[in-house]
């Protein structure tokens, strides 16, 4: 018995230390995560089972730049992890898309948006309610605007749109996406990219 233990112990030690090292590395340096959903397409596409490299070193000094793709905990559900683009930093003035309002980002907060919101007026990206309605009723641009207005009066559209654009405390940040590492034909850098004319920085 003792001999079997003595034989297995170096391997067990190696596994334990390897596990500790891997976990610490994933928490503090970089890890790989998979993408789900469409809010960041075409930058990150969940349907192709993409895996992205999330680097954590930005968290040491909270050194984020406008236009970074970041990973954060959802303010509505602490168990959910979101991937969005950081549009504005504390002190910036931003134009909120849905109601033309201009808002200043308070201290310690930032504004994040999914890429898909900027790209299309197709309400498919705005959540299940709007998607089904647009599929049924579509599709002139004017009609879309009418549908959106009606839904926002009922409070339904606004809810699903704000899921894609959020003001969140910087403390929820979990990392920054730098590359897509899988599948092999989609390996590439994820670039910084800012939507035009949305913010005025201090």
């Amino acid at each position: 018995m003792a001999r079997a233990l003595a034989f297995a112990w170096p391997y067990a030690k190696f596994c334990i230390v390897g596990g500790l090292f891997g976990r610490t590395f994933a928490d503090w340096c970089a890890s790989v995560a998979s993408v789900d959903g469409e809010s960041m397409s075409p930058t990150l596409d969940g349907h192709q089972a993409e895996r992205m490299l999330v680097e954590k070193r930005c968290l040491y000094t909270y050194d984020f730049t406008r236009g970074d793709v970041v990973v954060l905990l959802s303010p509505r559900n602490h168990r959910e992890v979101l991937v969005k683009r950081l549009i504005a930093l504390p002190g910036d003035w931003i134009q909120v898309p849905e109601n033309q309002e201009i808002r200043q980002i308070p201290q310690g907060h930032c504004w994040v948006e999914g890429d898909n919101a900027a790209n299309s007026s197709d309400s498919r990206s705005y959540g299940p309610v709007s998607y089904h309605l647009s599929a049924l009723l579509a599709c002139s641009h004017e009609f879309h605007t009418l549908v959106r207005a009606a839904l926002s009066i009922c409070g339904l559209y606004y809810t699903s749109l704000t899921f894609l654009c959020l003001q969140v405390p910087l403390g929820l940040m979990q990392g920054r996406v730098t590359h897509v590492v899988w599948p092999p034909q989609r390996i590439r850098r994820v670039d910084r990219n800012m939507p035009e004319g949305r913010i005025m920085s201090q």
Partner: protein, 166 residues
């Protein structure tokens, strides 16, 4: 050659200890020094790190987010992500909190919670910055471990009649 082997084994042992230390402090338990007056008398009012109480903050609760009303929790301040605050958890998502001194009642949105300091007069808490996302919580304070006169468990305490669930 012998020296090299000795140095290597020392290095290995140190690295393993460091890794173990980091993992324990990230995932199990952490020792924090509490400064400031917002939790008086639960924690001593102190200005400097060495004068404050040292407390044990357990991080296992984060895996399941099992918090009860009256727990003392550690969280990142919403208006300054580099600072950690220690306050008492008063209300969980979906509950209604009555702001003291006014008839207004606020509902805590999903994924958020309401925190307040025990020393209401000198505490910067949810009464100023509103409910905080649960994702900002970094741990739960369970015991005071220094000074020796205060060693013991940190009790759960709730102020009367502040919350209601509908």
């Amino acid at each position: 050659m012998g020296t090299y082997n000795l140095l290597w084994s020392i290095a290995k042992r140190n690295v393993t200890t460091v890794l173990l230390g980091i993992t324990i402090s990230d995932r199990c338990v952490n020792i924090i020094s509490v400064t400031g007056e917002s939790m008086h008398p639960t924690f001593t009012a102190a200005d400097r790190v060495l004068q404050g109480d040292f407390v044990l903050a357990e991080r296992r609760c984060l895996e399941k987010y099992e918090f009860s009303h009256g727990d003392v929790i550690l969280f990142k301040c919403p208006s300054n992500h580099k600072e950690l605050f220690v306050k008492r958890l008063i209300a969980l998502p979906g509950e209604w909190v009555q702001l003291p001194g006014s008839p207004k009642v606020t509902k805590i949105p999903e994924g958020h919670c309401w925190v307040e300091g025990d020393n209401a007069a000198r505490s910067l808490d949810s009464r100023s910055f509103g409910p905080i996302p649960l994702g900002l919580v970094q741990g739960r304070v369970t015991h005071i471990i220094w000074p020796p006169s205060k060693i013991g468990q940190v009790e759960r305490k709730m102020p009367e009649g502040r919350i209601s669930q509908i």
